[in-house]
Amino acid sequence: MRHLGKLAGLGGAVGVIALTLSAPALAEEAAELTATSSESAYILNSLLFLISGMVVMFMAAGFCMLESGLVRSRNAATICLKNIALYSIAGLMYWLVGYNLMYGGNTPYFGSFTFWTHSDVDISGGYTSGSDWYFQMVFCATAASIVSGTLAERIKLWPFLIFVAYLTGIIYPIQGSWEWGGGWLDAEWAFSDFAGSTLVHSTGGWAALVGAIVLGARTGKYGPNGEVNVMPGSSLPLATLGTFILWLGWFGFNGGSQLALGTAGDADAVSRIFINTNVAAAAGVVSAMLLTQILYRKVDLTMALNGAIAGLVSITAEPLTPAIPEAILIGAVGGLLVVIFVPLLDKMRIDDVVGAISAHLVAGIWGTMIVPFTNGDASYVGQAVGVAAVGVFVSVASLIGWLLLKFTIGIRVTPEQELEGLDKTELGLEAYPEFSR
């Protein structure tokens, strides 16, 4: 039997409880002994942040594999470099200015322009300051990861990285302060975004969208008569691996956003979040598969992968309150959205190499707007205000950034460099020197 306690085993939870409760001298006055001590809660809360942060950090590898699998081999090394560099830069910028700008709490609109330092141990704070910083940092890096995929195969390395520094040091923290930092969106609109469908994923998505428009499509992607030329990804197994890594990381992304593991209630909440996260992703895969089968008579693996991500993004705004069938529904719609929006963006000649705009921005909006369906504390108006406010701010701020870069150092390689591939022209090497053509 594998379930109802291990009374005869080497010891186990149920056994211990029995033992504790049956200790006669302590039975009544030690009732409180059954609760977690505040120091244990402090440790467990911090541990939740650290473990969750680790798997969210690993999402950087997931994005890297997804993107290097979906670009052509001639650009695969460059996208790898961008991914490891952006994760590095995000981590440094978020220390230098990002965290305190987001959580420094001076004004309802932004925090303070100071670098972050550890606080002393204070058990009443609930967790170590460092575990919190670490967890917040990996979220910031995620927003940047989203941008790299969309703009792949044509953007110059250094301008892209400068934008990443701006995004992770300034844009992301400012809009984050409005809600998670306790600013105006939180105070005035009761905007609700549990783990960041809007604050992380749409933010990345808006920055990517504006970047894609300013940068333009890859040379040859769109023909003069509206043709869309297909540029298949170089390694779908790597793209699949990347998606699995993202899925794994999302348990930390959403589960860790409960922010606490110090009570039974928190443990229960984290468990619910894990399950909703998983079924939403599963539903996104299945719905994307079914829709591509219906539309094209074949199942498109890359759409199934995007469907998983869209399902995950959809549930991220509220992974706790939905009942399981509700989470399935929310994720499934995410999967459908991605199948519809990927070709739609192509029709609009917005060239998104990996489908990040559809999976992160569109599904992020959907996930945020559907929160009131399962969470009575949120309102549709409040959600719409949040989506719009973040959308406008991030778009405008990104536009300024992209245009400044475009008209100073330039953001785009030449068409010849594009044809030869960024690996050779930007890095002087090849991702697969023995195989690629």
């Binding site: 869309v228 297909v230 298949p232 539309l295 074949k298 759409m303 990927v342 070709p343 192509d346």
Partner: protein
């Protein structure tokens, strides 16, 4: 001497090689190529966009033989590579002035 080149469907390669071997052909060289021809690649969808597959994978067999064996070799290839379906490929014959075996320096017939 002649060079017989045949562009065939890749999965026929082993069969054709076997047939040539049993004719006593001692060597041949194979290249992976892409073919464009009457056999049209289908159109496919990738991420919601239709596209035409114009080039199809083929194998090119090159075998240099004495004049007098050219016809046997052609028949053997034609028989084995034939599936009756469009896209089975072509055989081309072109003249060869000289052959050298690198190891020994032998030339002509002896080099084969």
């Amino acid at each position: 001497m002649k060079l017989v080149s045949a562009v065939i469907k890749p999965f026929k390669l082993d069969e054709v090689r076997g047939a040539l071997q049993s004719l006593g052909i001692q060597g041949l060289t194979v290249t992976e190529v892409k073919g464009y021809g009457r056999q049209k690649g289908h159109t496919e969808f990738y991420r919601g966009n239709e596209y035409a597959v114009t080039f199809l994978p083929k194998a090119k067999i090159e075998v240099v033989v004495d004049e007098d064996r050219v016809n046997t070799v052609i028949s053997a290839i034609q028989e084995r590579a034939n599936t009756g379906q469009i896209g089975d490929g072509k055989i081309f014959v072109c003249p060869i002035d000289e052959v050298v075996r690198i190891r020994t320096g032998e030339t002509g017939r002896d080099a084969l």
